[in-house]
Structures are given as C-alpha cells and as structure tokens.
C-alpha cells in the first residue's frame, strides 16, 4: 500500500530525514514512535507532499508520488489527521467535514454516528470546539475524504486520559474498515494497543522495527529512544 524508500527531507538547509524507509501493508496499522524532534512529523509531511523529499521514493498503491502536489496525493487516497489538528476555525463544523469530502463510503451521517458531539455542534465554527472535539473533527474530516490510508500525527496530544482512550478505541475500530493506518505517537501505550507493527525513529533515522510484543521486550530501545522504563 505505502512504501517509503530511503527518503531524505530538508527544511531549507537543515537535513532532517536521513534515508528513512517504512512500509504499510493493506489493512495494516503501523505505529511510528520516537521522542519529540525525532522527525516523525517531517515523515508525515514528506508523505503527504507538504515537504517533499529531495531524495528517495514514496510509492503509494504502485505509483511513485514523491513529486506530486499535496492535493493530488490526497485525492489519490491519503487521508491526513495532522499534528495540532489544524481545524479550519472560521469554518463551521459541517464545512470542515465537507471540505475534502469525496466519493462514497464515509458519509456525513456515518461520521455523525461515530462522533455524535459533532452533530450537535454542526453549525458552530470549528474554532469554538474543545480540544477533544477538534480531534474528532480532524478525524471525521479525514475519513470523509475516503482515503484508504489514514495518517494520524499525535492524535492524543494534549488530551485528557479519558479522551485518549476514546481516540484509541475509535482508531482501533477504524482499522479493517478497508482502511490502513499509519499512527505517529508519543503515547507509547496507545500506539501499542492499536498497531500491528511498530517503527521507532531517532534523529531522522529508523532505529527499530518490530511487533508490539518484540518492542515490549526490547528494554534498551524503550529506554534509549522512548523514555519508557
């Protein structure tokens, strides 16, 4: 489904990603872990075309997309829930949801059924929502694009524990809905609950690849790169 092959990404002159490779198979949920500043968001930005890599290849469902503009990548089937949610605050909740809505599958009704709060707030402007509601909106907005690969960049960031669990439950439920998932998280426990496979990133490189079980056992990796004992 997605094959990232040896990409190098820069912001201006600063070289952030140093030959990163990663795969997500169809129907799979993959977690990308790593400390703050490891390069996870840059990885996501490279995949969606916000900051295209200068070297390397990104192949999505058989097509090399690394030089495509973001709108084409999105239309091809990549659904983004960005770090910080990036809700369009001046737009109503409904307008946020419908902005990128395409094709069949996920409909406004289904998103409202998944997140009833959004139905209640449909005509309110996105900026008036709480953090948790904004996260639901960001997920609903991405689902409505009916992409086949859902990229989530720290969906639990800044949320209360009860909401983190709620988001974890929703994301886990989405997997298998003919949807593959690439989940970026600092919340180790959330990621392990959702993922089939995990990657750990440090200083712009992949330093570990395995299953949640193998990572649980890899004490040294956890301590050095994730700060979990």
């Amino acid at each position: 489904m997605l094959e990232v092959d040896g990409i190098h990404t820069y912001y201006g002159e600063s070289h952030i990603l140093h030959g990163v490779s990663l795969r997500v198979a169809a129907g799979e949920a993959v977690a990308l872990l790593g400390r703050n500043g490891a390069g996870k968001t840059t990885m996501i930005r490279s995949i969606v075309g916000f900051t295209p890599p200068r070297e390397g290849r990104i192949v999505f469902e058989g097509e090399p997309i690394q030089a495509w503009p973001p709108y084409r990548i999105s239309r091809r089937g990549m659904a983004l829930v960005p770090q910080g949610r990036r809700i369009f605050s001046p737009l109503s909740v409904r307008e946020n949801l419908l902005l990128g809505a395409r094709a069949a599958g996920w409909t406004l009704e289904r998103v409202f059924a998944l997140f009833p709060r959004l139905r209640e707030r449909a005509e309110q402007s996105g900026g008036t929502l709480s953090g948790g509601e904004q996260q639901m909106l960001a997920i609903g907005r991405a689902l409505l694009t009916n992409g086949r690969l859902l990229l989530l960049d720290e969906p639990s960031e800044g949320l209360a524990p009860i909401l983190v669990r709620e988001i974890g439950r929703v994301v886990k439920g989405l997997k298998g809905e003919r949807l593959s998932i690439l989940l970026v998280e600092q919340n180790y426990h959330l990621a392990l609950r959702v993922a089939d496979r995990v990657y750990v990133m440090n200083k712009g490189q992949i330093v570990y690849e395995g299953t949640p079980q193998s990572l649980e056992a890899a004490e040294e990796i956890k301590r050095r790169y994730l700060g979990v004992a």
Binding site: Y71, L80, F88
Partner: protein, 290 residues
C-alpha cells in the same frame, strides 16, 4: 456648523466612495489573507477597469455592457499576472513580491498612457442616472445613489458567495490555512488564481463605476491604493466583514476630511487608522496578532 442637508449630501458622497473602496479592498484582503502577498498593483486593476470601461462605452455606447465586460477583462488580466509573475514568488521573501507588484504599477500606468494618453478622460454616466434627485433637502446626482445601491448589493452578493457557498468555504479555508486546504485535496493553486482573478475583477468593477464620478486618469490606481490598503489594515487582514466596515469608515473619513480640512484630507484617514490600530492592532475584525 454646516446645514443638515449639506452634511447628509457629504455622508452620501462618503458612502459612495466607501463602496468603491470596498470593491477594491475585497480583492486586496483576500489575496493577502490567502497568498500572503500585498499586491501593490491592485490599484492598477481599478485604473484598468476605468479605462476598459471608457473604451467599451465609447465603442458600444452601452454603460451596462461595460459594467459587465470590463471586470471580466480585468479579471482575465489578473489571472495572467498571478500565473506568470506571482506564482514563482510565493516561496520567496515578501520583499521580492513588494518589488514585483510595485514594478507592475509603473508597467500598467505606462501601458495606459501609451494606449489612452495621459490626460484626464471623463466618462459619461448612463442616461438612466444622468440627472439628480433631492433627498431630505440635499441635491444628489442620481448616479451616486446608483453607485451606493449597486455597491451595497455587490457587498451582499460577495458576502453570500464567501460565507454561504461551498466555493466560499474553500476560499475561507485557504485564507486560514492554505497548506492544509491543499492537504484536503483542494487544488489550492487553482484557487489562488481564481481568487486573484476575482479580486482583480472586483477592482476593475470599482474602476468602471468610479469612472463617471472621478473620470479616468493614469495615476488613479496609485492614488486609490493607499486608502484601500488603509481599509485592509483598519478592517483586519483577510476579513471580509473588516473590508466592508473599514471601507465605510474610511469613505466617510476621506469625505469629511476633504470638507473640513481642505488640502489635508488624507490626514483624517491617517488619524482614523492610527486610532483604530492603537486600540486594536489586528484591525477591527482581524485575527489577533501572534
């Protein structure tokens, strides 16, 4: 103390001027909000609208045709400018954009002098509105009333388009966060071109309807640019509501400034701007500055 009818007539003058400023500042504020470009050549679209109107009226004898066709011509010019000149500069520093759009002012002014000559050309009002009417004791050219009603009608139409349609929600999203709008599958560059052309067309429309009031003369674009920029600052960058309210305030300030401080009418505008910016640095309806 001037008589009431005089005050009223002046307020109507201010209102018609404000309406012209509004049509001009919509493009300026949307382009700034979305593209992060201060288009100094935006006044040129106003000038081009007036001259295109002049020629269309002279050749067809039909003001109403000019009112529709001249903005389309100017919008087309805007689209070409955006594609050819501005697009390569989006990733460059603001100074490059300022220099480019500043240069365009001279380019268009010379072009106009070359085609139409440098003298003032008056533009007749349409026959329907060539007379004057008496309102509350004040004698007002009926064309001014037409400008006011037409301009406020356009304000409502633009507001409905931006606030109530799907296209409008895409434009508002793009003004708020262009990158993320692209990430939702919107071809944001096409939206940029469209908004630039739309803003240029409204600037051109402003020029056509200004024609019978102000005549056409080459520096008219540069001279209306400053008040239009002030409207954007007063109203708040990227805000449509700010554009409308700012235009109406600056329109009145300019007109009353002219009457009360002849020779220093711009001073009044600057004072109003300074007062508003001191109280609200982001403008009346702008997003708070970070």
């Amino acid at each position: 103390m001037p008589a009431l009818p005089d005050l009223f007539a002046q307020a109507l003058n201010g209102l018609s001027y404000g309406v012209l400023l509004f049509l001009l500042s919509v493009g300026l504020t949307l382009i700034f909000g979305m593209l992060d470009v201060v288009n100094l050549a935006h006044g040129s679209f106003y000038m081009l609208g007036a001259y295109a109107g002049l020629t269309l009226i002279a050749t067809t004898g039909n003001f109403w045709l000019a009112l529709v066709a001249a903005p389309l011509v100017v919008g087309g010019i805007g689209a070409v400018i955006e594609r050819s000149c501005l697009r390569p500069l989006y990733r460059r520093q603001p100074l490059d954009q300022v220099l480019l759009t500043f240069g365009l002012i001279y380019l268009f002014e010379d072009l106009v002098k070359w085609i139409w000559g440098g003298r003032i050309r008056s533009i007749p009002a349409p026959d329907l509105f060539s007379g004057s009417v008496t309102v509350l004791g004040a004698t007002v050219p009926s064309y001014r009333l037409f400008v006011i009603v037409f301009g406020l009608g356009m304000a409502v139409a633009v507001w409905l388009l931006i606030e109530r349609t799907r296209l409008g929600s895409i434009i508002r999203a793009g003004v708020f966060d262009a990158e993320m709008t692209g990430g939702m599958g919107v071809n944001i560059h096409r939206v940029f071109t469209g908004v630039f052309a739309f803003g240029a067309a409204l600037g051109g429309l402003s020029g056509v309807i200004a024609g019978p009031i102000q005549s056409a003369y080459p520096p008219m674009g540069a001279s209306i640019l400053i008040p239009a920029l002030i409207v954007v600052v007063v109203g708040g960058l990227g805000s449509l509501k700010g554009s409308l309210v700012g235009s109406l305030i600056i329109g009145q300030a300019e007109t009353f400034g002219k009457a009360w401080l002849p020779g220093a009418s711009m001073l009044m505008i600057y004072l109003v701007m300074a007062a508003i910016v001191l109280l609200r640095p982001q403008g009346l309806f702008g997003r708070p500055l970070k």
